[in-house]
Symmetry: C2
Subunit: 109 residues, 2 copies
DNA sequence: ACTTTTCATGTCATATTTGACATATTAAAG
DNA sequence: CTTTAATATGTCAAATATGACATGAAAAGT
């Protein structure tokens, strides 16, 4: 429910930086969403870096183009597990995923 | 299928360090399992550090004792999403999760 | 322009994950 | 040793994630 609310805000043009979320989210919920968005962003970034299409990536991990699109859109109907699998198949290592999570600015400050 | 196979080995006493896995796993599959095991280990470690029972943790995240046990056992029937939620509620930050993934020795060498 | 490729979004049947529950095993305390 | 608390393990119906598919919108190419 909260996830949908957030997405709606983005759709309305809020252009949230990392997670400028207020409105009834516990710190844990905020961090959780933050992690998911970080990872989904990297999927998109790395896929484009390799100049792969969503369809190519989908086939490599046995998924579908539409699901990759949903991952990259931060859709709540996708699991961290699948996102991580995607990253690994895009040549991102566990260590690099670690760095991603470590080197992120504080949400609001 | 592969996940079960691995667990069987552990049960038989192999006491795998981080992921001493050979036997038909792609590097991506290996890394994926490695990540899951790292995270599940930290859940157990941190919970014990705080001297929480599995039941306490379960209630905090709206889950059940048996599911926490499965998470800590590295059971394949648990999602990274739930593991991450557990970590966050145990006071582990996104940055600390990042460090965890970054600072792990190579599986086999 | 238009043709083609890529991406976005919705739906849906199937697959997987879920909390709850029962119960067994182990550990701690008395 | 006995009792009690904590953890492990299995099962199962309900909830959620999934790939496949359709179709629309945008981008890229010609």
């Amino acid at each position: 429910m909260d996830k949908k609310k957030r997405k709606k805000l983005e759709d309305k043009g809020f252009t949230i930086g990392s997670t400028t979320d207020f409105l009834g989210l516990t710190p844990e919920e905020e961090a959780y969403i933050d992690i998911r968005l970080d990872i989904s962003s990297l999927v998109k970034k790395q896929r484009k870096k390799l100049k792969w299409t969503q369809d190519q990536l989908a086939k490599v991990i046995g998924s579908s183009q539409s699901r990759i699109a949903k991952i990259e859109a931060g859709d709540p109907s996708t699991s961290l597990d699948l996102m991580i699998k995607a990253l690994l198949h895009l040549g991102i290592s566990k260590q690099e995923i670690g760095k991603l999570l470590e080197n992120t600015l504080e949400p609001v400050l």
